[in-house]
Symmetry: C2
Subunit: 247 residues, 2 copies
């Protein structure tokens, strides 16, 4: 038995999220369907670094699965990309290091959130960026972002009723990038609570649009209460970009 580690990308537009659920098209279901075909009807479990929600995209999700088959890496890459639907692509696949686990060994993740500041949003990006009509104040957003860096209890930035008890997480990097009319927020951390990136994005955009002050952000973190933060930014602006592993 070999464990395979793969980096995958998917366009979240056509999926009810990553994780299998009844009567919905999901990324995990499509992966398992193809692996079942390759394994002649045997069910193969697929483990990802974590779930992503409906309409959330991935450019660097990581998965693992176990297989008794002896197929070279290039053969796996070709077979999976031929059999998978076009909105999921396998970018890389290799035999995993001994004991590797895509979820348990994830040491950090990077997400990217994309806004489009164009006057009229392009029909080509409507599922891939969130349109902001008013011009946000990027300097204020950058100042406010500093409050997130470090280790904090992120209860204010977690969807309610998640069942997660420990809400302390470490944000290592939170930066903005401008690409023409596109504005990206790039956030890297040890791990993220449910909806955490989208609530941070929504809150920082409220600062950018003058609906919240820069100085409020530290208080919002200290409140440890979801109601203190801004709205959850829309799912289709979010990308899981990278998962780090020590091994």
């Amino acid at each position: 038995m070999k464990r395979m580690k793969a980096k995958i990308a998917y366009d979240g537009s056509g999926f009810a999220g990553y994780q299998v659920q009844p009567d919905s098209r999901t990324v995990q279901q499509e992966l398992m369907k193809v692996l079942k075909t390759i394994h002649k009807g045997e069910i193969v479990q697929v483990v990802a670094s974590g779930r992503t929600d409906a309409k959330v995209h991935a450019t660097g999700q990581v998965i693992h699965f176990d297989t008794p088959l002896s197929i070279p890496d290039s053969g796996w890459l070709k077979a999976l990309n031929v059999l998978l639907p076009e909105d999921i692509r396998v970018a890389e696949i290799h035999e995993a290091p001994e004991g590797f686990h895509a979820r348990y060994h994830a040491a950090g993740k990077t997400y990217r959130y994309k806004w489009d500041r164009s006057q009229v949003i392009s029909p080509f990006t409507r599922n891939y960026m969130v349109h902001i009509k008013q011009r946000p104040d990027l300097v204020k957003m950058q100042q406010a972002a500093e409050a997130f860096i470090g280790t904090h209890d992120f209860s204010s930035f977690c969807a309610v009723n998640t069942g997660v008890v420990d809400k302390v997480r470490t944000v290592r990097r939170l930066e903005f990038e401008e690409h023409g009319e596109e504005l990206h927020m790039v956030i890297e951390g040890s791990g993220f609570l449910y909806n955490m990136v989208r609530i941070i994005a929504g809150t920082l955009m409220e600062v950018g649009l003058g609906r919240k002050n820069v100085s409020e952000v530290a208080d919002i973190i200290a409140a440890k209460e979801r109601g203190a933060a801004g709205k959850t930014a829309a799912a289709h602006g979010l990308y899981l970009e990278n998962v780090e592993y020590d091994c």
Copy 2:
């Protein structure tokens, strides 16, 4: 009665082309539906610079329509973009110059054809670029492109049975652009025959992949026969980028 001229963009993925046809979703149909709503049930004809096929995109299609309504340009822009589906956007709209006609007065058009040379195509570009696995020889493609410049009978580059008699057209510019792994062909001319841009793209790519020689291209043009040229490149790589008017 005022004549309005608008520049529109659309994602061709969800359309059976520009022109109205029974039981199919088309760009013209969506435009007319919205204009009928704005005109309280009155049918408003929409005239475009020309048709585009199923899955072909536009970033700069031009249309005109007549209206008795007195709405400022900014009001038209807002109303149309609120009512239109998200895969059609109006980028600009103004009152047209006296006697303007979107089709008859089109003095030139620019099309762009996009290929993706990445090892694995991104799930985000599958409807917007055509994946080329083998590395094409761009220098050869550029050399071959020179034969198209000028005024020629383009019968070899026209889908059969179009009913068009005069197949002489002028190509003013044919250039390639590299944007990372993307390869674009930009072609500008007086007008284009049915499938002409896609057959030129397909033929030049065959040169790039070594399936045709650079020197063959002049002979293909001279043959004045569709069978002489290469395959018609796929529709979803094509963009109508600009329509020029003298007035």
